[in-house]
Symmetry: D2
Subunit: 154 residues, 4 copies
Amino acid sequence: MPTIPYIENFSDWVDSFSYHHSITVRFSETDAFGHLNNTNVFVYFEEARIEFLKTLGLMERWMRQESESILVTGDLQCDYLKQVFFDEKLDIYVKVATIGRTSADIHYMAKNEEGDVCFTGRGRIVQVSKQTNRSIAWDDAVKVALTGESIASK
Amino acid sequence: MPTIPYIENFSDWVDSFSYHHSITVRFSETDAFGHLNNTNVFVYFEEARIEFLKTLGLMERWMRQESESILVTGDLQCDYLKQVFFDEKLDIYVKVATIGRTSADIHYMAKNEEGDVCFTGRGRIVQVSKQTNRSIAWDDAVKVALTGESIASK
Amino acid sequence: MPTIPYIENFSDWVDSFSYHHSITVRFSETDAFGHLNNTNVFVYFEEARIEFLKTLGLMERWMRQESESILVTGDLQCDYLKQVFFDEKLDIYVKVATIGRTSADIHYMAKNEEGDVCFTGRGRIVQVSKQTNRSIAWDDAVKVALTGESIASK
Amino acid sequence: MPTIPYIENFSDWVDSFSYHHSITVRFSETDAFGHLNNTNVFVYFEEARIEFLKTLGLMERWMRQESESILVTGDLQCDYLKQVFFDEKLDIYVKVATIGRTSADIHYMAKNEEGDVCFTGRGRIVQVSKQTNRSIAWDDAVKVALTGESIASK
């Protein structure tokens, strides 16, 4: 098993997810090496993260024109375990790993139809003010929604 | 020579451009057929169109937060004449073909380093109100800038 | 109704499609004007076209490593009728409009959940030799599959 | 200064780069939050990495049709320090941090025109066999080129 800094025990980690969102690799997402271009996994992470936040009822608040805050990416990373090709159907699993005052650590895992983990990832999302660009503490409703999810997936 | 609806005489048309913006094909823009994916020519058109409008001093007005109008794409098309590959340097030529009351017809031509025309295109840009989504007539300053360019490239 | 060169009667044309493929607008496909960036409609066209060809049993032949030919885009165009925003679900309709010796004219239509046509398009796909880059006549099996679809959607 | 796992001393690290490649943020790379979408930094990393490898005379060997190996991404990560907007010109710095038997650790830094570091990153590139998908040891010429660069940028 690969050594990945944010994964203690690989098989426990794989089992810790419950939510997933499915995507199919587009032809325009492949490259001249014949496989999925490395940059597109982050597009899948974003799509799956947003779908996940929507199921928690959280996304809408940051999408409104009049919202004071937006959600930004603090950091983001991916470990590529297995090449992926055109037309593969991938389940992108998402979970809240930890929650801070103004940010949350989100984990990602992509499984193909054979059940192989093709790539894993993590990244911190941060709530920031549109005015000041500074981070803003989660309010209680967000914290409860994210925490519930965090506990549920343990 | 190919028959392209918006081109009367191919060599006259090739000679009618003066402005161009250069791009280099990114690896992430190729696909598993080993060449530039067809969807990315429109990314190049947009980049070259914006650079062109910037040289006319026109782009800034639509990018300001407080601007009442934005510039949208009415229609857009491309004719692919020659396959393009990773790392090719392309000059994307842009010109104003005709100007209407609220829109302008923009033509595009991509030439590689051998001087071959690899693809051609055209599309209508339209000024629309952010509030109503309806088209808004160009003001005189815009018209003069676009017309001057249109005359200059004849 | 807009005047679109490849559409004779708009409502007849809308009714002439049977196949569609659904997509949801990704956040990464929007731009700073707050809407779907104009370049991404062609990504949707490609995805829907490939799914359509797969249902006809045709796509696989061009994806094999040992295939002598690939499918390329001869030309492509889009008419934008209505702005599209993040998270909208669009049905991308696809049909074969006409078939030539080595190419076929494909039509596209995007409908949102309210049933509004947001954009329309068309483009020619061409079978070309990997060796010579020249167009190759469709063999009978392809022609029958494409023609059947063409007749069915009239 | 932010705590970033792969950076010991931030200002020493900033000074350790010599090579950079410049890009300008495309409008199609922004999103509805008005800034550069988080997924596109990895497109910049890839473009800059390839340009960097080209200056070392290394890229060509992996791009040839008959090459036995390709270069893949083992892992990749980005830390976002400052929002980036349309039309900003960024210098993407690249250096070899460490070299292994079959892989190398590459570091990235993006500076805007004011000299602010907007995002940093790193990732492992791995040489793999096209046939077996297993990693292949660098040959001496590659090792010398990568090592020279590694030493030069210390």
